[in-house]
Symmetry: C2
Subunit: 316 residues, 2 copies
Protein backbone atom coordinates (compact mmCIF):
# COMPACT_ATOMS: atom_id res chain seq x y z
CA UNK A 1 0.00 0.00 0.00
CA UNK A 2 2.70 2.46 1.04
CA UNK A 3 4.76 1.88 -2.11
CA UNK A 4 1.95 2.67 -4.53
CA UNK A 5 1.53 6.06 -2.86
CA UNK A 6 5.08 6.92 -3.75
CA UNK A 7 3.91 6.82 -7.38
CA UNK A 8 0.46 8.36 -7.08
CA UNK A 9 -1.51 10.60 -4.72
CA UNK A 10 -4.84 8.83 -5.09
CA UNK A 11 -6.19 5.73 -6.82
CA UNK A 12 -9.52 5.73 -8.62
CA UNK A 13 -11.43 2.44 -8.90
CA UNK A 14 -14.64 2.20 -10.93
CA UNK A 15 -17.07 -0.68 -10.50
CA UNK A 16 -17.18 -3.44 -11.56
CA UNK A 17 -13.68 -4.08 -10.20
CA UNK A 18 -12.81 -6.45 -7.37
CA UNK A 19 -10.57 -3.71 -5.98
CA UNK A 20 -13.71 -1.79 -5.02
CA UNK A 21 -14.54 -4.51 -2.49
CA UNK A 22 -10.87 -4.84 -1.52
CA UNK A 23 -10.62 -1.23 -0.46
CA UNK A 24 -14.16 -0.50 0.73
CA UNK A 25 -15.24 -3.93 2.13
CA UNK A 26 -18.74 -3.17 0.83
CA UNK A 27 -20.73 -6.06 -0.58
CA UNK A 28 -23.29 -5.70 -3.31
CA UNK A 29 -23.29 -4.47 -6.85
CA UNK A 30 -22.43 -0.78 -6.42
CA UNK A 31 -23.32 0.02 -10.00
CA UNK A 32 -21.62 3.06 -11.52
CA UNK A 33 -19.70 3.70 -8.34
CA UNK A 34 -16.19 4.90 -7.67
CA UNK A 35 -13.79 4.37 -4.80
CA UNK A 36 -11.07 6.99 -4.43
CA UNK A 37 -8.28 5.62 -2.31
CA UNK A 38 -5.99 7.97 -0.42
CA UNK A 39 -3.18 6.96 1.94
CA UNK A 40 -5.39 7.67 4.94
CA UNK A 41 -8.97 7.27 3.75
CA UNK A 42 -11.29 5.87 1.13
CA UNK A 43 -14.12 7.91 -0.41
CA UNK A 44 -17.04 6.32 -2.24
CA UNK A 45 -19.01 8.08 -4.97
CA UNK A 46 -22.23 6.26 -5.83
CA UNK A 47 -25.70 6.66 -7.29
CA UNK A 48 -28.51 6.96 -4.76
CA UNK A 49 -29.83 3.40 -5.21
CA UNK A 50 -26.93 1.93 -3.24
CA UNK A 51 -26.96 1.44 0.51
CA UNK A 52 -24.37 2.60 3.00
CA UNK A 53 -22.05 5.51 3.62
CA UNK A 54 -21.04 7.24 0.42
CA UNK A 55 -21.16 10.53 -1.45
CA UNK A 56 -24.35 10.01 -3.42
CA UNK A 57 -24.93 11.74 -6.73
CA UNK A 58 -28.32 12.35 -8.30
CA UNK A 59 -27.12 12.99 -11.84
CA UNK A 60 -24.04 13.04 -14.01
CA UNK A 61 -23.19 16.65 -13.14
CA UNK A 62 -23.13 15.87 -9.44
CA UNK A 63 -21.02 12.78 -10.08
CA UNK A 64 -18.56 14.81 -12.09
CA UNK A 65 -18.34 17.48 -9.42
CA UNK A 66 -17.52 14.86 -6.77
CA UNK A 67 -14.93 13.18 -9.01
CA UNK A 68 -13.27 16.51 -9.75
CA UNK A 69 -13.18 17.34 -6.07
CA UNK A 70 -11.56 14.07 -5.00
CA UNK A 71 -9.26 13.70 -8.00
CA UNK A 72 -7.84 17.20 -7.57
CA UNK A 73 -4.33 15.78 -7.07
CA UNK A 74 -1.17 15.68 -9.18
CA UNK A 75 -1.07 11.92 -9.90
CA UNK A 76 -4.04 9.56 -10.13
CA UNK A 77 -3.49 5.81 -10.17
CA UNK A 78 -5.95 3.59 -12.06
CA UNK A 79 -6.42 -0.10 -12.80
CA UNK A 80 -5.49 -0.31 -16.47
CA UNK A 81 -6.48 -3.98 -16.60
CA UNK A 82 -10.07 -3.24 -15.63
CA UNK A 83 -10.91 0.39 -16.28
CA UNK A 84 -12.49 0.60 -19.70
CA UNK A 85 -11.06 2.69 -22.50
CA UNK A 86 -14.16 4.91 -22.30
CA UNK A 87 -13.98 5.45 -18.53
CA UNK A 88 -10.26 6.15 -18.74
CA UNK A 89 -10.85 8.82 -21.35
CA UNK A 90 -13.69 10.31 -19.33
CA UNK A 91 -11.77 10.50 -16.06
CA UNK A 92 -8.73 11.94 -17.77
CA UNK A 93 -10.85 14.58 -19.50
CA UNK A 94 -12.34 15.96 -16.27
CA UNK A 95 -9.13 16.29 -14.25
CA UNK A 96 -5.74 17.84 -14.70
CA UNK A 97 -3.98 14.94 -12.97
CA UNK A 98 -1.38 12.72 -14.58
CA UNK A 99 -2.80 9.21 -14.89
CA UNK A 100 -0.61 6.26 -13.90
CA UNK A 101 -1.56 2.63 -14.55
CA UNK A 102 -1.08 0.93 -11.17
CA UNK A 103 -2.75 -2.39 -12.08
CA UNK A 104 0.47 -4.30 -11.34
CA UNK A 105 0.82 -2.66 -7.94
CA UNK A 106 -2.83 -3.39 -7.09
CA UNK A 107 -2.45 -7.07 -7.96
CA UNK A 108 0.81 -7.28 -6.03
CA UNK A 109 -0.79 -5.64 -3.02
CA UNK A 110 -3.51 -8.28 -2.98
CA UNK A 111 -1.06 -11.19 -3.26
CA UNK A 112 -0.13 -11.12 0.42
CA UNK A 113 -3.29 -11.64 2.40
CA UNK A 114 -4.41 -10.01 5.62
CA UNK A 115 -5.50 -12.11 8.58
CA UNK A 116 -9.24 -11.66 7.93
CA UNK A 117 -8.77 -12.52 4.25
CA UNK A 118 -7.08 -15.80 5.13
CA UNK A 119 -9.84 -16.54 7.62
CA UNK A 120 -12.48 -15.99 4.91
CA UNK A 121 -10.58 -18.30 2.53
CA UNK A 122 -10.49 -20.96 5.26
CA UNK A 123 -14.23 -20.66 5.69
CA UNK A 124 -14.84 -20.80 1.93
CA UNK A 125 -12.71 -23.96 1.84
CA UNK A 126 -14.59 -25.60 4.68
CA UNK A 127 -17.90 -24.92 2.96
CA UNK A 128 -16.54 -26.31 -0.31
CA UNK A 129 -15.20 -29.47 1.35
CA UNK A 130 -18.36 -30.14 3.30
CA UNK A 131 -20.45 -29.90 0.12
CA UNK A 132 -18.16 -31.66 -2.36
CA UNK A 133 -17.04 -34.43 -0.01
CA UNK A 134 -20.61 -35.41 0.90
CA UNK A 135 -21.96 -35.54 -2.62
CA UNK A 136 -23.52 -38.70 -4.04
CA UNK A 137 -22.69 -39.08 -7.73
CA UNK A 138 -24.37 -42.35 -8.71
CA UNK A 139 -27.02 -41.97 -11.38
CA UNK A 140 -26.65 -38.20 -11.69
CA UNK A 141 -25.69 -36.11 -14.71
CA UNK A 142 -22.83 -33.62 -14.77
CA UNK A 143 -25.34 -30.75 -14.86
CA UNK A 144 -27.38 -32.14 -11.97
CA UNK A 145 -24.30 -32.56 -9.81
CA UNK A 146 -23.00 -29.08 -10.63
CA UNK A 147 -26.39 -27.62 -9.67
CA UNK A 148 -26.48 -29.69 -6.47
CA UNK A 149 -23.03 -28.47 -5.45
CA UNK A 150 -23.89 -24.82 -6.11
CA UNK A 151 -27.13 -25.27 -4.19
CA UNK A 152 -25.09 -26.67 -1.32
CA UNK A 153 -23.01 -23.50 -1.30
CA UNK A 154 -26.12 -21.32 -1.33
CA UNK A 155 -27.57 -23.21 1.64
CA UNK A 156 -24.38 -22.48 3.56
CA UNK A 157 -24.68 -18.77 2.89
CA UNK A 158 -22.06 -18.80 0.14
CA UNK A 159 -22.13 -18.57 -3.65
CA UNK A 160 -20.02 -20.34 -6.24
CA UNK A 161 -16.67 -18.69 -6.87
CA UNK A 162 -16.77 -19.88 -10.52
CA UNK A 163 -18.98 -22.12 -12.67
CA UNK A 164 -18.65 -25.61 -11.19
CA UNK A 165 -16.93 -28.15 -13.43
CA UNK A 166 -18.25 -31.71 -13.31
CA UNK A 167 -16.79 -34.07 -15.92
CA UNK A 168 -17.41 -37.78 -16.43
CA UNK A 169 -15.54 -40.26 -18.58
CA UNK A 170 -13.64 -38.76 -21.48
CA UNK A 171 -14.91 -35.28 -20.54
CA UNK A 172 -12.25 -35.32 -17.79
CA UNK A 173 -9.71 -34.88 -20.61
CA UNK A 174 -10.86 -31.22 -21.05
CA UNK A 175 -9.53 -28.85 -18.38
CA UNK A 176 -12.48 -26.41 -18.83
CA UNK A 177 -15.31 -28.83 -19.53
CA UNK A 178 -18.87 -27.45 -19.42
CA UNK A 179 -21.25 -29.78 -17.52
CA UNK A 180 -23.48 -31.79 -19.87
CA UNK A 181 -26.30 -34.31 -19.51
CA UNK A 182 -23.80 -37.18 -19.38
CA UNK A 183 -24.49 -39.54 -16.45
CA UNK A 184 -21.95 -40.60 -13.86
CA UNK A 185 -19.13 -42.92 -14.87
CA UNK A 186 -15.54 -43.02 -13.73
CA UNK A 187 -13.17 -41.41 -14.28
CA UNK A 188 -14.94 -38.40 -12.80
CA UNK A 189 -13.75 -34.93 -11.89
CA UNK A 190 -15.28 -32.18 -9.77
CA UNK A 191 -13.73 -28.70 -9.69
CA UNK A 192 -15.71 -26.41 -7.41
CA UNK A 193 -15.28 -23.54 -5.00
CA UNK A 194 -17.46 -21.54 -2.67
CA UNK A 195 -17.17 -17.79 -2.29
CA UNK A 196 -17.77 -16.67 1.26
CA UNK A 197 -17.48 -13.18 2.74
CA UNK A 198 -16.00 -12.10 -0.59
CA UNK A 199 -13.26 -14.76 -0.77
CA UNK A 200 -12.86 -17.86 -2.91
CA UNK A 201 -11.97 -21.50 -2.51
CA UNK A 202 -10.95 -23.70 -5.44
CA UNK A 203 -10.78 -27.48 -5.02
CA UNK A 204 -10.63 -30.35 -7.51
CA UNK A 205 -11.31 -33.98 -6.82
CA UNK A 206 -10.73 -36.80 -9.31
CA UNK A 207 -12.28 -40.24 -9.01
CA UNK A 208 -10.76 -43.18 -10.84
CA UNK A 209 -10.97 -46.95 -10.91
CA UNK A 210 -8.67 -49.59 -12.37
CA UNK A 211 -5.86 -48.43 -14.62
CA UNK A 212 -6.41 -44.78 -13.68
CA UNK A 213 -5.23 -45.49 -10.13
CA UNK A 214 -1.57 -45.44 -11.10
CA UNK A 215 -1.88 -42.05 -12.80
CA UNK A 216 -3.86 -40.73 -9.84
CA UNK A 217 -0.98 -41.61 -7.55
CA UNK A 218 1.47 -39.76 -9.79
CA UNK A 219 -0.69 -36.60 -9.81
CA UNK A 220 -1.14 -36.86 -6.06
CA UNK A 221 2.61 -37.21 -5.60
CA UNK A 222 3.08 -34.10 -7.77
CA UNK A 223 0.63 -32.20 -5.54
CA UNK A 224 2.45 -33.04 -2.31
CA UNK A 225 5.81 -32.45 -3.94
CA UNK A 226 4.66 -28.97 -5.02
CA UNK A 227 3.34 -28.17 -1.56
CA UNK A 228 6.57 -29.34 0.07
CA UNK A 229 8.60 -27.15 -2.27
CA UNK A 230 6.49 -24.04 -1.75
CA UNK A 231 8.61 -22.43 0.92
CA UNK A 232 8.96 -18.77 1.75
CA UNK A 233 11.68 -17.17 -0.39
CA UNK A 234 11.30 -19.75 -3.17
CA UNK A 235 10.76 -18.48 -6.73
CA UNK A 236 7.32 -19.57 -7.94
CA UNK A 237 8.67 -20.60 -11.36
CA UNK A 238 11.15 -22.96 -9.70
CA UNK A 239 8.36 -24.89 -8.03
CA UNK A 240 6.65 -25.23 -11.40
CA UNK A 241 9.84 -26.59 -12.94
CA UNK A 242 10.33 -29.20 -10.24
CA UNK A 243 6.82 -30.54 -10.86
CA UNK A 244 7.27 -30.29 -14.62
CA UNK A 245 10.43 -32.41 -14.40
CA UNK A 246 8.69 -34.95 -12.18
CA UNK A 247 5.87 -35.30 -14.71
CA UNK A 248 8.35 -35.48 -17.62
CA UNK A 249 10.17 -38.29 -15.85
CA UNK A 250 6.88 -40.21 -16.03
CA UNK A 251 6.35 -39.20 -19.65
CA UNK A 252 3.67 -36.54 -19.08
CA UNK A 253 3.46 -32.89 -20.11
CA UNK A 254 1.82 -30.09 -18.13
CA UNK A 255 -1.00 -28.46 -20.06
CA UNK A 256 -1.56 -25.55 -17.71
CA UNK A 257 0.05 -23.74 -14.81
CA UNK A 258 0.68 -25.60 -11.57
CA UNK A 259 -1.65 -23.19 -9.79
CA UNK A 260 -2.63 -19.61 -9.16
CA UNK A 261 -3.12 -17.11 -6.39
CA UNK A 262 -6.65 -17.00 -4.98
CA UNK A 263 -8.48 -14.30 -3.09
CA UNK A 264 -11.40 -12.08 -4.05
CA UNK A 265 -11.06 -13.64 -7.50
CA UNK A 266 -10.51 -17.32 -7.96
CA UNK A 267 -7.67 -16.39 -10.33
CA UNK A 268 -6.36 -13.52 -8.28
CA UNK A 269 -3.56 -12.29 -10.50
CA UNK A 270 -0.53 -14.58 -10.22
CA UNK A 271 0.16 -17.95 -11.80
CA UNK A 272 2.48 -20.69 -10.60
CA UNK A 273 3.86 -21.00 -14.12
CA UNK A 274 7.28 -21.54 -15.64
CA UNK A 275 7.88 -17.83 -16.07
CA UNK A 276 6.61 -16.79 -12.63
CA UNK A 277 9.47 -14.79 -11.16
CA UNK A 278 7.90 -13.65 -7.90
CA UNK A 279 9.04 -15.07 -4.57
CA UNK A 280 6.73 -16.94 -2.26
CA UNK A 281 6.02 -14.98 0.90
CA UNK A 282 4.28 -15.43 4.20
CA UNK A 283 0.46 -15.14 3.93
CA UNK A 284 0.25 -15.71 0.19
CA UNK A 285 -2.57 -18.08 -0.75
CA UNK A 286 -2.58 -20.36 -3.80
CA UNK A 287 -4.64 -23.05 -5.43
CA UNK A 288 -2.24 -25.84 -6.42
CA UNK A 289 -3.61 -28.05 -9.19
CA UNK A 290 -1.24 -30.48 -10.88
CA UNK A 291 -2.97 -32.38 -13.67
CA UNK A 292 -2.37 -34.85 -16.44
CA UNK A 293 -4.66 -34.96 -19.47
CA UNK A 294 -4.51 -38.01 -21.70
CA UNK A 295 -6.50 -38.60 -24.86
CA UNK A 296 -9.37 -40.39 -23.13
CA UNK A 297 -9.34 -38.98 -19.63
CA UNK A 298 -7.62 -36.62 -17.28
CA UNK A 299 -6.77 -36.35 -13.61
CA UNK A 300 -6.48 -33.12 -11.66
CA UNK A 301 -6.16 -32.76 -7.90
CA UNK A 302 -6.34 -29.33 -6.34
CA UNK A 303 -5.86 -27.98 -2.86
CA UNK A 304 -5.57 -24.45 -1.55
CA UNK A 305 -2.53 -23.56 0.52
CA UNK A 306 -1.35 -20.63 2.60
CA UNK A 307 2.29 -19.86 3.29
CA UNK A 308 2.57 -19.87 7.09
CA UNK A 309 5.73 -19.95 9.21
CA UNK A 310 7.69 -20.29 5.99
CA UNK A 311 5.90 -23.35 4.62
CA UNK A 312 2.83 -24.07 2.50
CA UNK A 313 -0.01 -25.43 4.59
CA UNK A 314 -3.12 -27.01 3.11
CA UNK A 315 -6.21 -24.99 4.00
CA UNK A 316 -8.80 -27.22 5.58
CA UNK B 1 -25.04 -5.30 -38.07
CA UNK B 2 -24.76 -3.92 -41.59
CA UNK B 3 -24.48 -0.32 -40.41
CA UNK B 4 -21.52 -0.92 -38.11
CA UNK B 5 -19.60 -2.38 -41.05
CA UNK B 6 -19.93 0.92 -42.85
CA UNK B 7 -17.73 2.35 -40.10
CA UNK B 8 -15.29 -0.52 -39.55
CA UNK B 9 -13.96 -3.58 -41.39
CA UNK B 10 -13.79 -5.86 -38.37
CA UNK B 11 -14.75 -5.73 -34.69
CA UNK B 12 -12.50 -7.13 -31.97
CA UNK B 13 -14.10 -8.37 -28.75
CA UNK B 14 -11.98 -9.54 -25.81
CA UNK B 15 -13.43 -11.65 -23.01
CA UNK B 16 -14.96 -11.00 -20.55
CA UNK B 17 -17.55 -9.19 -22.68
CA UNK B 18 -21.14 -10.30 -23.25
CA UNK B 19 -20.65 -9.51 -26.93
CA UNK B 20 -18.37 -12.54 -27.15
CA UNK B 21 -21.38 -14.78 -26.47
CA UNK B 22 -23.61 -12.60 -28.65
CA UNK B 23 -21.48 -13.12 -31.72
CA UNK B 24 -20.08 -16.62 -31.11
CA UNK B 25 -22.96 -18.30 -29.17
CA UNK B 26 -20.31 -20.16 -27.16
CA UNK B 27 -21.01 -20.76 -23.50
CA UNK B 28 -18.32 -20.99 -20.88
CA UNK B 29 -15.63 -18.73 -19.58
CA UNK B 30 -13.36 -18.39 -22.63
CA UNK B 31 -10.59 -16.77 -20.61
CA UNK B 32 -8.21 -14.53 -22.53
CA UNK B 33 -10.09 -15.11 -25.75
CA UNK B 34 -10.92 -12.85 -28.67
CA UNK B 35 -13.72 -12.85 -31.20
CA UNK B 36 -12.98 -11.04 -34.46
CA UNK B 37 -16.23 -10.24 -36.21
CA UNK B 38 -16.29 -9.72 -39.97
CA UNK B 39 -19.40 -9.05 -42.08
CA UNK B 40 -19.47 -12.69 -43.19
CA UNK B 41 -17.71 -14.67 -40.46
CA UNK B 42 -16.54 -14.76 -36.85
CA UNK B 43 -13.08 -15.97 -35.86
CA UNK B 44 -12.20 -17.01 -32.32
CA UNK B 45 -8.69 -16.80 -30.87
CA UNK B 46 -8.35 -18.69 -27.59
CA UNK B 47 -5.92 -20.41 -25.25
CA UNK B 48 -5.79 -24.20 -25.50
CA UNK B 49 -7.75 -24.86 -22.30
CA UNK B 50 -11.03 -23.90 -23.97
CA UNK B 51 -13.27 -26.35 -25.80
CA UNK B 52 -14.68 -25.96 -29.30
CA UNK B 53 -13.72 -24.61 -32.68
CA UNK B 54 -11.19 -21.81 -32.46
CA UNK B 55 -7.70 -20.74 -33.41
CA UNK B 56 -5.83 -21.91 -30.34
CA UNK B 57 -2.61 -20.27 -29.24
CA UNK B 58 0.02 -21.86 -27.02
CA UNK B 59 1.78 -18.68 -25.96
CA UNK B 60 1.66 -14.92 -26.28
CA UNK B 61 3.67 -14.89 -29.52
CA UNK B 62 1.20 -17.20 -31.21
CA UNK B 63 -1.71 -15.14 -29.90
CA UNK B 64 -0.16 -11.97 -31.26
CA UNK B 65 0.49 -13.56 -34.65
CA UNK B 66 -3.18 -14.59 -34.92
CA UNK B 67 -4.40 -11.16 -33.83
CA UNK B 68 -2.15 -9.45 -36.38
CA UNK B 69 -3.38 -11.75 -39.10
CA UNK B 70 -7.08 -11.15 -38.43
CA UNK B 71 -6.78 -7.46 -37.58
CA UNK B 72 -4.91 -6.69 -40.79
CA UNK B 73 -7.66 -4.29 -41.91
CA UNK B 74 -7.96 -0.52 -42.20
CA UNK B 75 -10.53 0.08 -39.43
CA UNK B 76 -11.01 -2.02 -36.31
CA UNK B 77 -14.09 -1.51 -34.14
CA UNK B 78 -13.86 -2.16 -30.39
CA UNK B 79 -16.13 -2.00 -27.35
CA UNK B 80 -14.83 1.07 -25.53
CA UNK B 81 -17.19 0.45 -22.61
CA UNK B 82 -15.66 -2.95 -21.85
CA UNK B 83 -12.21 -3.21 -23.39
CA UNK B 84 -9.70 -2.24 -20.75
CA UNK B 85 -7.28 0.62 -21.18
CA UNK B 86 -4.44 -1.91 -21.17
CA UNK B 87 -5.97 -4.20 -23.80
CA UNK B 88 -6.82 -1.23 -26.00
CA UNK B 89 -3.23 -0.03 -25.87
CA UNK B 90 -1.96 -3.52 -26.60
CA UNK B 91 -4.22 -4.17 -29.59
CA UNK B 92 -3.49 -0.76 -31.03
CA UNK B 93 0.24 -1.31 -30.67
CA UNK B 94 0.29 -4.53 -32.68
CA UNK B 95 -1.76 -3.38 -35.67
CA UNK B 96 -1.73 -0.49 -38.09
CA UNK B 97 -5.51 -0.22 -38.11
CA UNK B 98 -7.46 2.82 -37.08
CA UNK B 99 -9.42 1.99 -33.91
CA UNK B 100 -13.05 3.07 -33.70
CA UNK B 101 -15.12 2.81 -30.51
CA UNK B 102 -18.31 1.04 -31.62
CA UNK B 103 -19.72 0.38 -28.14
CA UNK B 104 -22.86 2.41 -28.92
CA UNK B 105 -23.46 0.48 -32.14
CA UNK B 106 -22.96 -2.86 -30.36
CA UNK B 107 -25.48 -1.96 -27.67
CA UNK B 108 -27.93 -0.70 -30.27
CA UNK B 109 -27.55 -3.88 -32.29
CA UNK B 110 -28.48 -5.96 -29.25
CA UNK B 111 -31.55 -3.83 -28.43
CA UNK B 112 -33.73 -5.48 -31.08
CA UNK B 113 -33.84 -9.19 -30.33
CA UNK B 114 -33.76 -12.12 -32.71
CA UNK B 115 -36.39 -14.84 -32.52
CA UNK B 116 -34.21 -17.28 -30.56
CA UNK B 117 -33.21 -14.56 -28.12
CA UNK B 118 -36.85 -13.77 -27.36
CA UNK B 119 -37.55 -17.49 -26.95
CA UNK B 120 -34.69 -17.78 -24.42
CA UNK B 121 -36.04 -14.76 -22.49
CA UNK B 122 -39.49 -16.41 -22.43
CA UNK B 123 -37.96 -19.56 -21.00
CA UNK B 124 -35.94 -17.62 -18.42
CA UNK B 125 -39.16 -15.90 -17.41
CA UNK B 126 -41.10 -19.13 -17.06
CA UNK B 127 -38.37 -20.57 -14.85
CA UNK B 128 -38.35 -17.41 -12.73
CA UNK B 129 -42.14 -17.41 -12.34
CA UNK B 130 -42.35 -21.08 -11.48
CA UNK B 131 -39.73 -20.64 -8.74
CA UNK B 132 -40.79 -17.28 -7.30
CA UNK B 133 -44.53 -17.89 -7.45
CA UNK B 134 -44.28 -21.19 -5.57
CA UNK B 135 -42.09 -19.98 -2.77
CA UNK B 136 -43.15 -20.23 0.87
CA UNK B 137 -41.94 -17.21 2.84
CA UNK B 138 -43.29 -17.84 6.36
CA UNK B 139 -40.58 -18.17 8.99
CA UNK B 140 -37.69 -17.74 6.56
CA UNK B 141 -34.97 -15.10 6.51
CA UNK B 142 -34.20 -12.90 3.52
CA UNK B 143 -30.94 -14.79 2.99
CA UNK B 144 -32.62 -18.20 3.21
CA UNK B 145 -35.26 -17.21 0.69
CA UNK B 146 -32.72 -15.74 -1.73
CA UNK B 147 -30.71 -18.98 -1.53
CA UNK B 148 -33.85 -21.06 -2.01
CA UNK B 149 -34.82 -19.10 -5.11
CA UNK B 150 -31.35 -19.36 -6.63
CA UNK B 151 -31.34 -23.10 -5.87
CA UNK B 152 -34.66 -23.35 -7.65
CA UNK B 153 -33.10 -21.79 -10.74
CA UNK B 154 -30.15 -24.20 -10.58
CA UNK B 155 -32.49 -27.18 -10.37
CA UNK B 156 -34.18 -25.97 -13.54
CA UNK B 157 -30.89 -25.82 -15.39
CA UNK B 158 -30.60 -22.05 -15.06
CA UNK B 159 -28.50 -19.67 -12.98
CA UNK B 160 -29.41 -16.37 -11.39
CA UNK B 161 -29.19 -13.41 -13.73
CA UNK B 162 -28.23 -11.15 -10.80
CA UNK B 163 -27.98 -11.43 -7.01
CA UNK B 164 -31.52 -12.07 -5.78
CA UNK B 165 -33.04 -9.29 -3.69
CA UNK B 166 -35.30 -10.33 -0.83
CA UNK B 167 -36.40 -7.50 1.48
CA UNK B 168 -38.72 -7.61 4.47
CA UNK B 169 -40.30 -4.76 6.41
CA UNK B 170 -38.47 -1.47 6.19
CA UNK B 171 -35.77 -3.09 4.02
CA UNK B 172 -38.24 -2.80 1.12
CA UNK B 173 -37.52 0.93 1.21
CA UNK B 174 -34.05 0.29 -0.32
CA UNK B 175 -34.10 -0.44 -4.06
CA UNK B 176 -30.83 -2.43 -3.91
CA UNK B 177 -31.18 -4.13 -0.52
CA UNK B 178 -28.74 -6.96 0.29
CA UNK B 179 -30.51 -9.97 1.88
CA UNK B 180 -29.98 -10.16 5.64
CA UNK B 181 -30.96 -12.52 8.45
CA UNK B 182 -34.22 -10.63 8.99
CA UNK B 183 -37.21 -13.01 9.14
CA UNK B 184 -40.34 -12.70 7.06
CA UNK B 185 -42.74 -9.86 7.72
CA UNK B 186 -44.86 -7.83 5.34
CA UNK B 187 -44.28 -5.68 3.43
CA UNK B 188 -42.00 -8.04 1.53
CA UNK B 189 -40.29 -7.73 -1.83
CA UNK B 190 -38.63 -10.31 -4.08
CA UNK B 191 -36.63 -9.22 -7.13
CA UNK B 192 -35.20 -12.24 -8.94
CA UNK B 193 -34.39 -13.48 -12.41
CA UNK B 194 -33.15 -16.67 -13.95
CA UNK B 195 -30.58 -16.74 -16.74
CA UNK B 196 -31.27 -19.51 -19.23
CA UNK B 197 -29.44 -20.27 -22.46
CA UNK B 198 -27.55 -17.02 -21.97
CA UNK B 199 -30.61 -14.76 -21.51
CA UNK B 200 -32.06 -13.05 -18.47
CA UNK B 201 -35.40 -12.56 -16.81
CA UNK B 202 -36.05 -9.88 -14.21
CA UNK B 203 -39.22 -9.96 -12.10
CA UNK B 204 -40.22 -8.21 -8.89
CA UNK B 205 -43.09 -9.12 -6.60
CA UNK B 206 -44.23 -7.05 -3.63
CA UNK B 207 -46.39 -8.38 -0.82
CA UNK B 208 -48.33 -5.99 1.38
CA UNK B 209 -51.08 -6.05 3.95
CA UNK B 210 -53.29 -3.34 5.35
CA UNK B 211 -52.39 0.25 4.54
CA UNK B 212 -49.87 -0.82 1.90
CA UNK B 213 -52.67 -2.18 -0.30
CA UNK B 214 -53.62 1.25 -1.57
CA UNK B 215 -50.06 2.06 -2.62
CA UNK B 216 -49.73 -1.38 -4.20
CA UNK B 217 -52.71 -0.60 -6.41
CA UNK B 218 -51.17 2.67 -7.50
CA UNK B 219 -47.88 0.98 -8.45
CA UNK B 220 -49.78 -1.76 -10.25
CA UNK B 221 -51.77 0.83 -12.16
CA UNK B 222 -48.50 2.54 -13.14
CA UNK B 223 -47.18 -0.79 -14.42
CA UNK B 224 -50.15 -1.45 -16.68
CA UNK B 225 -50.24 2.17 -17.78
CA UNK B 226 -46.59 1.93 -18.81
CA UNK B 227 -47.16 -1.31 -20.69
CA UNK B 228 -50.18 0.14 -22.47
CA UNK B 229 -48.16 3.17 -23.54
CA UNK B 230 -45.18 1.16 -24.80
CA UNK B 231 -46.15 1.06 -28.44
CA UNK B 232 -43.91 0.75 -31.45
CA UNK B 233 -42.72 4.18 -32.58
CA UNK B 234 -43.13 5.70 -29.11
CA UNK B 235 -40.17 7.55 -27.60
CA UNK B 236 -39.00 5.69 -24.47
CA UNK B 237 -38.61 8.93 -22.50
CA UNK B 238 -42.26 9.83 -23.18
CA UNK B 239 -43.45 6.64 -21.52
CA UNK B 240 -41.33 7.49 -18.49
CA UNK B 241 -42.87 10.95 -18.30
CA UNK B 242 -46.42 9.62 -18.43
CA UNK B 243 -45.72 7.35 -15.47
CA UNK B 244 -43.82 10.09 -13.67
CA UNK B 245 -46.84 12.41 -14.01
CA UNK B 246 -49.18 9.69 -12.80
CA UNK B 247 -47.05 9.15 -9.69
CA UNK B 248 -46.73 12.91 -9.12
CA UNK B 249 -50.50 13.23 -9.26
CA UNK B 250 -50.57 10.85 -6.28
CA UNK B 251 -47.76 12.72 -4.56
CA UNK B 252 -44.94 10.27 -5.27
CA UNK B 253 -41.55 10.71 -6.91
CA UNK B 254 -39.73 8.16 -9.05
CA UNK B 255 -36.38 7.20 -7.57
CA UNK B 256 -35.10 5.22 -10.54
CA UNK B 257 -35.81 4.56 -14.19
CA UNK B 258 -39.12 3.00 -15.19
CA UNK B 259 -37.23 0.04 -16.61
CA UNK B 260 -34.41 -1.17 -18.80
CA UNK B 261 -33.68 -3.35 -21.78
CA UNK B 262 -32.89 -6.96 -20.91
CA UNK B 263 -31.02 -9.62 -22.85
CA UNK B 264 -27.66 -11.27 -22.25
CA UNK B 265 -27.27 -8.79 -19.41
CA UNK B 266 -30.07 -8.01 -17.05
CA UNK B 267 -29.33 -4.34 -17.69
CA UNK B 268 -28.69 -4.68 -21.37
CA UNK B 269 -27.76 -1.14 -22.27
CA UNK B 270 -30.88 1.06 -22.46
CA UNK B 271 -32.95 2.65 -19.71
CA UNK B 272 -36.57 3.70 -19.80
CA UNK B 273 -35.61 7.02 -18.25
CA UNK B 274 -36.65 10.62 -18.71
CA UNK B 275 -33.84 11.31 -21.14
CA UNK B 276 -34.25 8.11 -23.19
CA UNK B 277 -34.61 9.35 -26.75
CA UNK B 278 -34.75 6.04 -28.60
CA UNK B 279 -37.95 4.82 -30.21
CA UNK B 280 -39.60 1.58 -29.19
CA UNK B 281 -39.41 -1.02 -31.93
CA UNK B 282 -40.71 -4.47 -32.70
CA UNK B 283 -38.79 -7.22 -30.84
CA UNK B 284 -37.27 -4.98 -28.19
CA UNK B 285 -37.47 -6.51 -24.71
CA UNK B 286 -37.69 -4.55 -21.46
CA UNK B 287 -38.10 -5.05 -17.76
CA UNK B 288 -40.71 -2.51 -16.58
CA UNK B 289 -40.45 -1.76 -12.86
CA UNK B 290 -42.42 1.17 -11.49
CA UNK B 291 -41.80 1.64 -7.79
CA UNK B 292 -42.53 3.90 -4.88
CA UNK B 293 -40.18 4.07 -1.91
CA UNK B 294 -41.45 5.67 1.27
CA UNK B 295 -39.54 6.18 4.49
CA UNK B 296 -40.60 2.88 6.05
CA UNK B 297 -41.31 0.66 3.11
CA UNK B 298 -41.35 0.44 -0.65
CA UNK B 299 -43.32 -1.27 -3.38
CA UNK B 300 -41.95 -2.34 -6.75
CA UNK B 301 -43.68 -4.49 -9.32
CA UNK B 302 -41.76 -5.67 -12.35
CA UNK B 303 -42.68 -7.56 -15.48
CA UNK B 304 -40.74 -8.22 -18.66
CA UNK B 305 -42.32 -7.22 -21.95
CA UNK B 306 -41.60 -7.68 -25.63
CA UNK B 307 -42.83 -5.34 -28.34
CA UNK B 308 -44.85 -7.57 -30.68
CA UNK B 309 -47.24 -6.49 -33.43
CA UNK B 310 -46.66 -2.92 -32.32
CA UNK B 311 -47.60 -3.38 -28.66
CA UNK B 312 -45.87 -4.37 -25.42
CA UNK B 313 -46.82 -7.87 -24.36
CA UNK B 314 -46.01 -9.29 -20.93
CA UNK B 315 -43.67 -12.25 -21.21
CA UNK B 316 -45.12 -15.24 -19.39
Amino acid sequence: MKEVFEKVDAIVIKTPDENFFYFTRRYGTWENSYAIIFPEKVEIIAPPLEEGKAHFYKNKDEMEKLLKEFLNVARVGFNGEKLSYRDYRYLKSITKARFVDVSKELKRMRLVKRKEEIEAIYRANRITRSVVENIEMDGKSEKELAAEIECGFLRKNATNAFPTIVAFGKHTASPHHLPSRKRFVTPALIDAGAKYMGYCADLTRSFVKGRGKKLYEIVEEALYMAIDEMEEGRKAGDVYEIVEKFFEKHGYKMRHALGHSIGINVHDGFSLSKKADFMLEENMVFAVEPAVYLKNYGIRIEEDVVIKAGKARIIR
